[in-house]
Each structure stands twice: as structure tokens, then as C-alpha cells.
Amino acid sequence: MTTIELRSVSRWYGNVVAVNDITMSIGPGVTGLLGPNGAGKTTILHMIAGFLMPSRGEITVAGRGSWRNPAMFRRVGVVPERDSVYAFLTGTEFVTATAKLHGLPDPAAAAERAIGLLEMTEAQNRRISTYSKGMRQRIKVAAALVHDPEIVLLDEPFNGMDPRQRLHMMDLLQAQGEQGRVIVFSSHILEEVERVAGIIQVIVGGRLAASGDFRAIRRLMTNRPHVFLVRSGDDRALGAALIGRPSVSAVELTTHGLQVRSSDYGTFTREIAGISRDHGIRLTQVLPADESLESVFTYLLAS
């Protein structure tokens, strides 16, 4: 079974740690690397692809080290995030050239098949410099798939794609995964990862924050304590009333109002209006204070 193994992998640039002690095993199917921008997803993909040397730890792809191993690319296809391709080539020239570089016996036929798979046949004879961002993404994917690799690494593959193109790419990746290929892609959008990936690896601050199927990740995310910023006519009295409620785990009186930590989002939001009314306190603001993806990811990291 083809796998990718990362053992205690770290990567730093001077004093900045981009990836911190990550151990994971990736097998056949679709694995999504999910995390906010700057989390280390691209760094991880670059190290798996052999484009970046780990500062520490070991990465093996199909049983062999990925660093300084060009032969690995007979079995691996890579779609980098950067938009740079040979813009002076047409789509078909680019994919055919890639097929020739892989030493395929019939590069033209392989290129035609790959371009058809990505629905780029109509635009294949146009220069890549005339392509939209979504079209460039698709031609890059076609080039990565032209030699029918067992492992495909894609960095933010849905960037620049319209909804229909995104859905098509998602279906393609799922189909590739169901055929037993190892598909690894990165994204900062939970819905993209949820829809396509069987296994999600959540990367936050260079660390592996959570790992599992999307249901487990979603449960972790929704069960986390929520923080609300509440303002009222009498914050102290409201705070005293709230602290006794089962849905409230902590209350802090600040200069900006009450900071309320709740372990039961639904119950708290249903109850607070009634509690305020019962105590004759006028409620002026109830705001969730930690709904950013970053705070969700940070919570996952802390837990």
C-alpha cells in the first residue's frame, strides 16, 4: 500500500518555526490539510514533494525519502500553489511537454486524456498567458495527472475556480481517491475539505491540531466553549444571574462588558434574553467573540 510517512518533522527559518514536530501517516484516499493561511500546510506539502528539506525528522514517500529523489516523481504528481507556469506555451504544449519529461511512450495521447479529464479541451490550443486563474489551475492539475501517478499533492487546488469548476475538481479528486490513489490537498476552507477529504489533518501554527474524519473534526469544533461579549444596563447583576446557569462555565466583568464563556451555544443563546428580562435588566448586546476560523483552530490546538 502506497503511503506517505512524516515522523517528527519540523522546519524552521532562522528563529521562525513553520512546521513543528509533525507525525502523520497518509494512505490511499483523499486527505485534506486544513488550516488558516500561514499555518504550515504549504511547507508540509513542499517537504513531502522534496522541494524543501526538513530541518528535523524524516519524510518517506512510497517507502523512500522524498529529499533529493527525482525518481520519486514517476509515481508522484504535484500541483504547486504558485500561479507560475510556462505562460508562453499552449495548454496542450505544456501538458505534452510534461508527459515527455516523464518519459511516457505516447505523450500526445496521455496529454489529450489528462486535458479531457480537466475539461480543458476547448482551450488547449490557447497560450496559458490568456487563461483565467481557474483555467491555469486546471491545466496544472492536468500536467500533474498526465503520467497517472499513484500520489498527487495539490496546494490550494480550488483557488480561482468558479463554483462549477470547483465541484468538478472535487468530484475528480474523490474519484482519484476511490481508485486507490493517495491524494493530499491543502485548503483553508472547511467546506472544501469536508466535501472531498475522507481524513482531515488540521494544521495550526505549524502543529498538527487535530486529525480524523470530518465528523470528528466538526464535533470538536462545535463542542468547544464559546465566548460571548454581553452588554446590558447592569452588567454586574446580569453576571451574577448568569454564573448560576448550567450552560455558563465562566463570567468575567471587563471594561467592555461581560465576557461569558458557554459550553452550550444553543442553550445559552436561547436563555440569555429571558434571564435578562426576569431580572429587569436591559440587554443591549450579545456578540460571539471567537467565531473566527483562527480562534477555532487555536482551540483545536489547545485541546
Partner: protein, 243 residues
């Protein structure tokens, strides 16, 4: 992938180097050199000027052309990230470096060595020893300079590589090599002039090395630079995102 060079890499490199109206940039110095030769042939008195002018201005143009060409065949792709598409194939890094160098040499020959010969042919005749000698020296210089500048762009980013290349040409070769003994041993220009002089036999070329030393050093320097470029490309580290 077996083979010392790869035709696909060469074709990609050639198309990339000749794009963006770069051919005009390459052609300008060549046209200038041929124009200067024609003008001097028509107006200058005496026969001293051909080796003086073509040995200095001509070989300066050779070096600068190689700097632009050699600096663009690899450095530009590393800088914009398109090199990743090439590196994500089983083609050996040595094959990539040699293929790109061969294209750079061919372009330098076309845009600098051949105009050098044409200028000398205008000045002294197509079959003259000077013309043939300068051509052979320029062919050698095309190889040596491109090996050096290709290596520079594999070690440094394009801006610094260009700066170091210019310093090498203008300061090291243009100034120090003629003033400080021994500096010529590490000068591609001196290797080229010595090789040219082995045919031209002209003291006006100011070739300070003998043929054996020049050829040997030219081969050693070229091989070492290409080897270093291969090592650098093999250990290529792309910039990643930072937490």
C-alpha cells in the same frame, strides 16, 4: 531519464529565453559591434584597431551577453517558481543544468560570438587569422562565461547574481586582471583571449596566458561551476509559508 541533455528542457528553455522581446535586448550589442567595425573600417587609419577594439569591446559584449542569457535560463524560472514544474519530473538535475547551459551557450554564440567574427571579418577579411582566432576564443568564452553565470543564478537570487556578475566582468576582469598579476588565472576573458591568440598571434590582444593554461583552467572552471549548479539545484529549497 538517461541522457546528458534533454531535448524538451532545451526547447522550453529556448522558448522562455527568447520570449518577452528578449531577442531584441540580445541583438542590440551585436548590431552595435558590427556597426562599430564597419564605421572604423571606413574611417580609421592604420591596422592597429581591429584586435584592440574587437579584443576589448567585442569580448566585453560577449561577457555581458552571457550574463544576460546565462542569468535568465535558470534564474528567472527559480525566481518565479516555474522551475517547480521541471523539478516535479524524474529528469536528473544534472541533465537540467547541462541542457539549459547548452541553450545559453548557443544563444551567446549566436548573439555575441558570431557578431564578433562578423566584425573581425569586416575589419580584416573572413578568412583572416584574427577573425578565425576571435571566433574560436569567443566560442570558448561562451561556454566558460555561461557556466559561471548559470552557477551564480543557482546560488543567488537574480538581482544579486546580476550584481556579482557585473562586478566580475567590470571590476575583476576589466580592472584587476590587467593590474594585479595572477588575477588573470581566474578570468574567463583571459582564457578566451589566450585561445583566440593561439590562432591570431597578435600582441594587441593582450593575452597574458598560454594556450595550455587557458584551456585547462577554462575546462576546470566550467566543470566546477556546472557541478556546483547541479548540486544547488539538487538541493533546491522553495520558500514555504511561515506560521
Amino acid at each position: 531519464m538517461p541522457g546528458v541533455v534533454n531535448g524538451v528542457v532545451m526547447r522550453l528553455t529556448l522558448r522562455g529565453a527568447m520570449g518577452r522581446r528578449r531577442a531584441l535586448l540580445f541583438a542590440l550589442p551585436a548590431v552595435l559591434l558590427i556597426g562599430i567595425s564597419a564605421l572604423l573600417k571606413a574611417t580609421a587609419h592604420g591596422s592597429a584597431w581591429p584586435p584592440e577594439v574587437l579584443g576589448t569591446v567585442g569580448y566585453l559584449i560577449l561577457a555581458l551577453t552571457a550574463l544576460i542569457v546565462g542569468g535568465s535560463v535558470l534564474g528567472a524560472e527559480i525566481d518565479d517558481g516555474s522551475i517547480l514544474h521541471l523539478l516535479a519530473t524524474p529528469v536528473s538535475r544534472r541533465t537540467i543544468v547541462l541542457s539549459k547551459c547548452l541553450v545559453a551557450v548557443a544563444l551567446t554564440v549566436g548573439f555575441a560570438a558570431v557578431p564578433e567574427y562578423l566584425g573581425a571579418a569586416i575589419a580584416t577579411g573572413a578568412a583572416s587569422k584574427l577573425a578565425i582566432g576571435l571566433l574560436i576564443g569567443a566560442l570558448a568564452g561562451s561556454v566558460i562565461y555561461n557556466a559561471i553565470f548559470l552557477m551564480l543564478t543557482s546560488v543567488l537570487s537574480p538581482g544579486p547574481a546580476l550584481a556579482v556578475g557585473l562586478l566580475y566582468i567590470l571590476l575583476w576582469e576589466g580592472l584587476l586582471a590587467s593590474l594585479v598579476p595572477g588575477v588573470g588565472l581566474l578570468s574567463a576573458e583571459h582564457y578566451s583571449l589566450a585561445i583566440a591568440n593561439s590562432v591570431a598571434h597578435s600582441s594587441a590582444l593582450h593575452a597574458n596566458l598560454n594556450l595550455g593554461t587557458a584551456t585547462g583552467m577554462g575546462i576546470v572552471v566550467s566543470a566546477a561551476c556546472l557541478a556546483l549548479a547541479t548540486i544547488c539545484l539538487s538541493g533546491f529549497n522553495v520558500k514555504g509559508d511561515v506560521a
